[in-house]
């Protein structure tokens, strides 16, 4: 570290932050390039959420009274789309390198793997947001959902924090896939249970009690509650307030991030000790 000696502490921190930003930018950029290199990937991002919304629409048909109910449906579908993209694509972010044969090159770079993964996850979650926006557009244009929000700033805040919590969850999922080939199994089999557990379409309170702790451990459960409280007039869900939901979500998001970074360190150490990530 002698070479760093000439730098003032301030410069060091700034250098480090710049370096993180540089890696994040590079990672987001590459992921987007890989995404657009195969434009067919747009299909699941447009068609799949569209179909989900359609199924839900047909199911809700006849039971709906007023646009608030439709907005409820559209918000739920949007979150389902975001969830799907986050879980599926993020878990595959570093797995892609394993598959593509770039794992060694990635591991050999002088930056922690978690930064690279974070860049990928951010892009994937962003993709999920586009998903949600697309569903909202379908709702507004096709199903004529009214978009009168109860509290727009609170809605915006809750959406942003939910986005962050989804990204953090995606990062955690990424480590699972790194730790084990079974990661694919975990993420695949989690998709629908997670839709259920976070109350995307119906309140979690309907679920059998054994399911509830799982539901409460998922930060987006609280995010969806907060979003609905901020968007829908007279919404009754969990017996919590908007701010209570937000606090729990933020705390859980921090827990995800902490756990993810901890696991990344372990994974990298393990890879060095065993000489490979390939043999999990």
């Amino acid at each position: 570290m002698a070479s760093m000696g000439s730098l003032t502490p301030g410069r060091q921190v700034e250098g480090r932050v710049n370096k993180i930003i540089q890696v994040l930018k590079a990672s987001v950029f590459l992921t987007s390039r890989l995404f657009f290199a195969d434009p067919q990937w747009l299909i699941p991002n447009i068609i799949a959420p569209f179909i989900f919304t359609m199924v839900a629409f047909f199911l809700f048909q006849g039971q709906t009274s007023g646009s608030a109910f439709l907005l409820y449906l559209v918000l739920g579908s949007g979150l389902m789309g975001m969830w799907g993209t986050t879980i599926y694509a993020s878990a595959n972010s570093i797995g892609f390198d394993r598959w593509n044969g770039t794992m060694e090159s990635t591991l050999a770079a002088p930056v922690p793997l978690s930064w690279i993964a974070l860049g990928r996850v951010l892009f994937n979650t962003l993709q999920g947001v586009l998903n949600a926006v697309f569903i909202l557009v379908i709702g507004l244009v096709w199903f004529r959902v009214g978009f009168g929000l109860v509290n727009p700033p609170a809605f915006f805040l809750a959406s942003v924090v939910t986005f962050i919590s989804l990204s953090s969850f995606g990062l955690l999922m990424t480590t699972l896939l790194l730790l084990s080939r079974k990661g694919g199994f975990i993420t695949n089999s989690m998709e629908i249970p997670v839709y259920i557990a976070t109350g995307t379409m119906f309140p979690v309170i309907l679920l059998p009690v054994v399911y509830l702790p799982f539901a409460f451990m998922l930060a987006p459960t609280w995010g969806i509650e907060a979003i609905r409280l901020a968007a829908l007039p007279g919404y009754v869900g969990l017996p919590t307030t908007y701010w209570e939901d937000m606090v729990v979500m933020v705390l859980e998001t921090f827990a995800y991030l902490g756990l993810a970074f901890f696991l990344f360190k372990r994974v990298e150490a393990y890879a060095k000790r065993m000489g490979t990530l390939e043999e999990y």
Partner: protein, 334 residues
């Protein structure tokens, strides 16, 4: 003792790579976490590579080459011994080492095929923390050095093997490393592609870079390297200049045969002849090439001809000086 210690430290500081008593064992664990098998991949190797040196590491598959490279590039921790890269400890100074070394992986691994060469280089330059202003200038330069300027915007999947390998080299140079590891850089390339790569390696050497090269091709090692370490079963069995290594087999000469219709039986018959040290045969093609190592030289020729079975033909036979390959075979087989 004190003096020895000091001189050793001095040597360590002078060397770009310094390896002392390096060991690595792999432990395979069973389901319950108990040790089921322990494999010794490296059992105590020592060598040093000076600044600006082009150093070769050769050995059969599974001898420990890849393990050594992985340890030296900080991808794997050793289980014993020490390794210093540019005076830095491979166990502790990971990121500092990684910033200052470049790695070229052989074969198809290591590139993003669905994006362009330019995007690959830009991505890795960012991962290595290269100042964007510097990268903007350096990437086109590198692309021109490796002759990919015209196709820099094309997806890598459209490239030939040779082009991919040249891009690999550019990728390893994007952060201007002092020390470069080339892990079988010419594997699977056609002769022209391999020659391009070798010329680039020479060019890097001329620029004063320190290079560690592993290869399966003996002529390549002989052509490029100043010193070569031969590694076999996790140990370094010889370390010297190519000419000194060849001296080890000065006592023998080589009869090179080209035959038509020869089989494994003929090879076995040759092996049974007196004074035959070793027979290496390539029987796969229509014409077989067989190398017989013997101290007798031309005196063995009548016996070699006599052993040829009926129906087989001798097309050509020549007496040759032993090559690095002959030395290598002796070293790794003993």
């Amino acid at each position: 003792m004190q003096v020895l210690q000091t001189s050793r430290e001095a040597a360590t500081q002078k060397a770009a790579i310094s390896v002392q008593g390096l060991t690595r064992e792999y432990v395979t664990r069973n389901f319950f976490g108990g040790v089921s098998r322990t494999t010794m991949a490296l059992s105590g190797i020592d060598f040093q590579v000076g600044y600006g040196e082009l150093f070769g590491l050769i050995g059969p598959n599974g001898a420990g080459k890849t393990t050594t490279i992985k340890i030296l590039t900080t991808l794997l921790t050793p289980t014993g011994g020490d390794a210093k890269i540019l005076g830095l400890d491979v166990r502790k100074d990971l990121y500092e080492i990684r910033r200052r070394i470049g790695i070229v992986f052989g074969g198809e691994r290591g590139l993003y095929n669905r994006v362009s060469a330019f995007d690959n280089l830009r991505y890795f330059s960012d991962l290595y923390g290269v100042d964007p202003a510097v990268a903007r200038k350096r990437i086109p330069e590198l692309l021109s050095v490796v002759g990919l300027t015209d196709r820099a915007q094309e997806k890598v999947e459209k490239y030939s093997r040779g082009m991919k390998q040249r891009l690999h080299i550019a990728k390893a140079l994007v952060h201007d490393p002092e020390l470069i590891f080339l892990d079988e850089p010419t594997i699977g390339l056609d002769p022209g592609g391999a020659r391009d790569i070798r010329n680039m390696v020479r060019e890097l050497k001329a620029q004063g870079k320190t290079i560690l090269l592993t290869t399966h091709y003996m002529f390549e090692a002989e052509e490029l390297c100043q010193r070569i370490a031969v590694i076999s079963k996790g140990k370094i069995v010889a370390l010297d200049t190519p000419s000194e290594l060849k001296n080890m087999v000065r006592d023998i000469s080589v009869i090179e045969l080209r035959t038509y219709g020869a089989t494994m039986e003929y090879v076995e018959a040759l092996r049974r002849l007196p004074n035959v040290v070793r027979v290496v045969a390539d029987l796969d093609s229509e014409q077989q090439s067989i190398r017989v190592q013997t101290p007798l030289g031309a005196d063995l020729l009548p016996m070699v001809a006599a052993a040829l079975p009926a129906g087989a033909k001798m097309i050509d036979r020549t007496i040759k000086e032993p090559t690095l390959e002959d030395a290598y075979l002796r070293l790794v087989e003993e």
